[in-house]
Symmetry: D2
Subunit: 246 residues, 4 copies
């Protein structure tokens, strides 16, 4: 069965900054989407901030198994209604892959319950992402570490909850470190935060980075229980036999 992926993108930097447009002539979202489209078992669409309803109608979200999210300068322009919709869908089981500056998106902060703040510097540091969980589905096919010649630096303390699993940790030329691959679960949904992807660098053209993203999409694809979650009042106990909610 296919995994239905929606690649959400802010898509503003490409329009304002010629350097970004040069690196991603079709937009950052298309670099990611094009990679995912190489897999026959993925159905890929894109959704953009400036589309109606931020590109994320109820209908589209209902038909999305995994959503990837890249935003940076315009987090506040994502409507609260969109955030509520995505939040609800993650709880229903939709996977969420939050990329780079998406750490400060409304949706990630709402799901984490923290500020998601960090240290940063734009000076083209070399980044090395070290695998700290070999054997995890998200690191399949990756060898020991990934080198990105130039990236924006993100440094600890990264104000997020203790993760379920720390998959990657980055070092930077400046001597900083950052937990750059983290897994979480909220409701029925699986969440992966993945650090790299500053708009002025060709990070989403790097085959290993793309491999991590497609691995993560597979990992975050929903595994559903049978029937709805049974919350609420249950007038009889299970040891007594019947126990339906009224």
């Amino acid at each position: 069965m296919s995994t239905r992926v929606t690649v959400w993108h802010e898509h503003r930097h490409e329009k304002k900054n010629p350097d970004v447009a040069k690196v991603y002539p079709k937009g950052m979202h298309e670099a990611i989407a094009d990679h995912l489209r190489t897999f026959k078992d993925m159905e890929v669409r894109t959704a953009l901030l400036d589309e109606p309803e931020n590109g994320l109608t109820d209908e589209i979200l209902k038909n999305t198994d995994v959503l990837t999210w890249w935003g940076h300068g315009a987090h506040q322009e994502v409507s609260d209604l969109t955030v509520e919709r995505v939040y609800k869908r993650v709880h229903e089981g939709m996977g969420l892959i939050v990329l780079h500056s998406g750490h400060f998106s409304k949706i990630f902060r709402k799901l984490m319950g923290t500020s998601c703040d960090l240290k940063w510097r734009e000076s083209g540091d070399k980044e090395i992402l070290w695998i700290t969980r070999p054997g995890h589905p998200i690191t399949e096919g990756i060898e020991d570490h990934i080198v990105l010649e130039h990236e924006e630096m993100y440094g600890e303390f990264f104000d997020v909850p203790e993760p379920l699993e720390t998959i990657f940790i980055s070092s930077f030329t400046g001597g900083e470190v950052f937990r750059s691959g983290l897994t979480y679960q909220r409701g029925l949904g699986s969440i992966f935060y993945f650090r790299p992807g500053h708009e002025t660098y060709p990070t989403y053209h790097n085959p290993q980075i793309l491999r991590v993203i497609s691995n993560a999409v597979r990992w975050a694809s929903p595994s559903m229980p049978k029937g709805p979650i049974k919350f609420g009042q249950h007038k009889q106990g299970w040891l007594e036999g019947s126990a339906e909610a009224k």
Copy 2:
């Protein structure tokens, strides 16, 4: 040094329901506060929903090391400003002990990033709380399990994030189970959710339950790093020497 504890309480059920008033003539908050006052190293105050600013002014929160929270019928009457203040203080390091129906409070849901929903039944089930982490500071002095002859039932699935530690798990007469003692961390703050405490039962007169609460207050008391958290831009790397944020 003293731990400054604020016992927050909704304090509505005692006024409306004579059965509750009979069990807690001074209010549920006073049962908890009286226990904490027996420790010389705790400074205890109470704060109530119907006090100005929900009893939680900036000044009071600033002088609170650990906040305990019991609410049930009036979660929506807690102002969003109060919730923001408590949220901010937890991130700054204030401990938070969320009791029973506080699972549905605005503040707990905001910190968890989940619905915090569950199954429930008011039929006086026997509850047995089993220790699943002997050796944890919160279970100090407790022996194997705690029996409560009558309590409200809460059942799984409890829609919270995977906890740092599962300290207690309850069984109920009806055959349900519930993770009734859970630890989390958000920002610099430690959070403990503790299930028991329905208003019509004398749960907060039980010496073992009170012991768990005072243990949790000690455990959640802040441990502060030196100086503020350094977020934001850092123009130089640490390997190069200076690295102050500008």
Copy 3:
């Protein structure tokens, strides 16, 4: 690609106890293996304690992606060499599903670093396994909870490390609780402990229990990084360019 599963079994109780033989005329291992054989993408073999090398030669383990383990009365008869082999293979990425009284097996205790002790009673309690992680691949297709009319009771404290994830918690007629579905990771290997399966009850004929086991086999199937893990001395740093171990 196929998942190669080896169902390991002690296979002693069926020979000694006619009650067990009646419930599992072909042996408990065949009940599990028969279920797994219904999946076209699983290659299933069995291995028994009394076979040469405890049924687990280097060759067989090398060709096993996921091993399931049921043992009870004869843990001490498993050779230390076999335990070392399985331990090594788990670290290389082989999945391990430990069933019921396998909690006291040499291999599980060695991987956990704890005694794995617990409370128990053989009196045919009803067991209810409640899902505490809906949305996890191991609970796919299971609805809310599983009822087993009669099972051996296992009770907390279960002396294992805090798990990565608590997937199921059981209640018993006697009022005990038990974390009956737990995930761990050791080296590259994924481990799932699953409680039910006392030899005198038809637990491994229950379709939901079998579904959990096949779900777990899929979940524990290896996800391999590219190339071997690079441990040891590395004379040059990665920022300097070359960094091969000498």
Copy 4:
């Protein structure tokens, strides 16, 4: 009440290598012990590999609340009996602080259930330890990060189980990273692994490193439940009243 600390040390390098003896004229153990002795509420003793019973008799361990462990070249000379004793005491609640090359000690590997292998290089890299859990008792009084001008490099992948909490992550001049402060729990005991402390560098004279060690000793000090852990057979259920093990 006092915390009784035993500082265990291999104490071989100081005798063989004049460079080590110059940095630690009284031995590395005394540098650590002298710091801990500055606290009135700590009773400090040392224990050495070459003392009878490796310095860790039953009597000494029985009277130890927290044990710190530094070993490097002579892990294999620690007797299996000593390892069993320490293992048993950790499970009974004794705290364990494993330092630097202690990662390869028999006791740490036995408790972890993994190889505890890693990358390494002796070339005097600068190490920066970044706090990833501000607010944790172990980071109390430490500001953002600790710089060690020269240390041995340890790099990921560090083959340990996913920790309860990642407290520090190090970067090295060579661009490597390492999870250098990790917490675990085994039985009733709390375990902290802390990376720094190569014998040729004055790391245990650094006030911040010493502060982390004394913080960790306080954090790992036992919190005991009332009475022994109740394992074994329980012929009656708790809902029926009596439930003593026979």
